[in-house]
Amino acid sequence: MPLLEIANLSLAFSGLRALANVSFDVEEGEIVGLIGPNGAGKSTLLNCISRLYQPDGGTIRFDGHDLGGRSAPEVAAMGIRRTFQNLELFREASVRENVALGLVYRYGSPLLAEFLALPGVRAKQRAALEDAERIVSECGLGEWAEARVAELPYGLQKLVELARALAGHPKLLLLDEPAAGMNREESTQVAETVRRLRDRDGITVLLIEHDMRVVMTVCERIVVLDHGEKIAEGSPAEIRRSPAVIKAYLGDELEDA
């Protein structure tokens, strides 16, 4: 059974077709790329999976469960975590707090106990903090743990988002253009990180990216969207050769890769 099954997914925004009958699967442990021209519906698809958008039609199944009717926090708790194309950070909070907020929901205490800061509550807070601290340093953010996120450069902010997503111990990680705005060296690092997350931690990854070098090196399978429709699916080699893809998209993009 695939970890993620998307079947006939459709969504229109006041008449504009953002997704039209899109179907594909993601197997457990796979790294799948989602590519296509601007406005193709890639981010919309991710937003449907994380339940920020309600699709008009079709189904999404994760781990065998239908996601229809579930809320964003519920699917997050099921093990789907993500980053955002245009950064959604807790900007006024520190790096450590951003990461901690990615995992606190797993360390809940009764409200009355929290009011009184009972010893059990403090123990859970310490445990959550240690968990966060470990992820902060694993992601190489240790030096900036205390820094306010809003004051960090863009590249580090993206890293904080990734760290926060990892704090949820995801089974499925959705990355929306993780290498956008990065130079060659940085985007290579992103590709390596994605590989490592899969190889070492067994995290399944669905990745949107315009940087073809990253997509072609890291993804095992690629799904191509255009005007909300899936126009191709296959291995990087197959996608490179696909006439439909070259016409719709790759013509320009491959030249930069």
Partner: protein
Amino acid sequence: MKHARTIATLLVLLVLVALPFGLGHYGYYILATVMIYAIVALSLNVLIGMGGQISIGHAGFWALGAYGSALVVIKLGFPFLAGVLVGGLVAAIFGALVALPALRVQGHYLAIATLGFALFVQQVLFEWEGLTGGRQGLFVPRPSLFGYELQTDFSYYYVLLAVFLLLAWITGNFAGSHTGRSLMALKMSSVAAECCGIARPIHIIIAFTISAFFTGVSGALYGHLLGHLSTETFSLAVSLSFLTMAVIGGLHSRAGALLGGAYLALAPELLREFKDAQMVIYGITLILCVQFLPGGLISLVERVWTIRRPPRAAP
């Protein structure tokens, strides 16, 4: 750094304990109202400062607390402190209900919804003569502890101080708790928070419930201070002055709540000569504060405080 905070807290406590000495009955009364207002300011710290919600209906919760406590003390013979708790709980129940529109609407619409709630409460209390005495109002017994009546506002002030400190401690615990931080996360970015597994509805309901509880407790304490309740005490102007004091004191600080309470208790005394122009002065103060001192009076204190310490190393 941590040391400096402890010393500052102890100093403030010392001042608060020493304050009534040398004052007269009127002074005690004013100090008592400082504490009562400061508790409301704490409640708005939770709702607005942490939760990012708005309310111009807190006079409604205040009224529910005041009448709730007075009625169980008068009609059911509850002891004073139990009455205060009941007052808080009654308000809390309505707080949870008022949270429901907040799950759908924000900003101006929420402001209007909460305003409508307060007007509704005031009207119902006024009309329900059998229970509240309607136009005549209700006489409320003096506060008493363990069977002893607190004859003067001097002793009552210390009870109020203790309640304020207890609620301030709880507020601090909540601010550091996972639930409190999740609430603040939702305020910073609800999209991000929800994708971190933090559910918005329950946290908004919690924020309104806590805030209403605190304000209900304050209203209950106020009723026993006044000795007489009438619905005029809980007008729209009161809701607005609560909001004003909370902003002017500082929405992100317990000490700021105290300053806000002091502002609301003292400003009418200092501005008495200005009569009807008072409202204008309040309005201008609020606008100036929002414009130039968004952190409230407490941020001014903190600024002076930090000048004397070396700045923190930049990241």
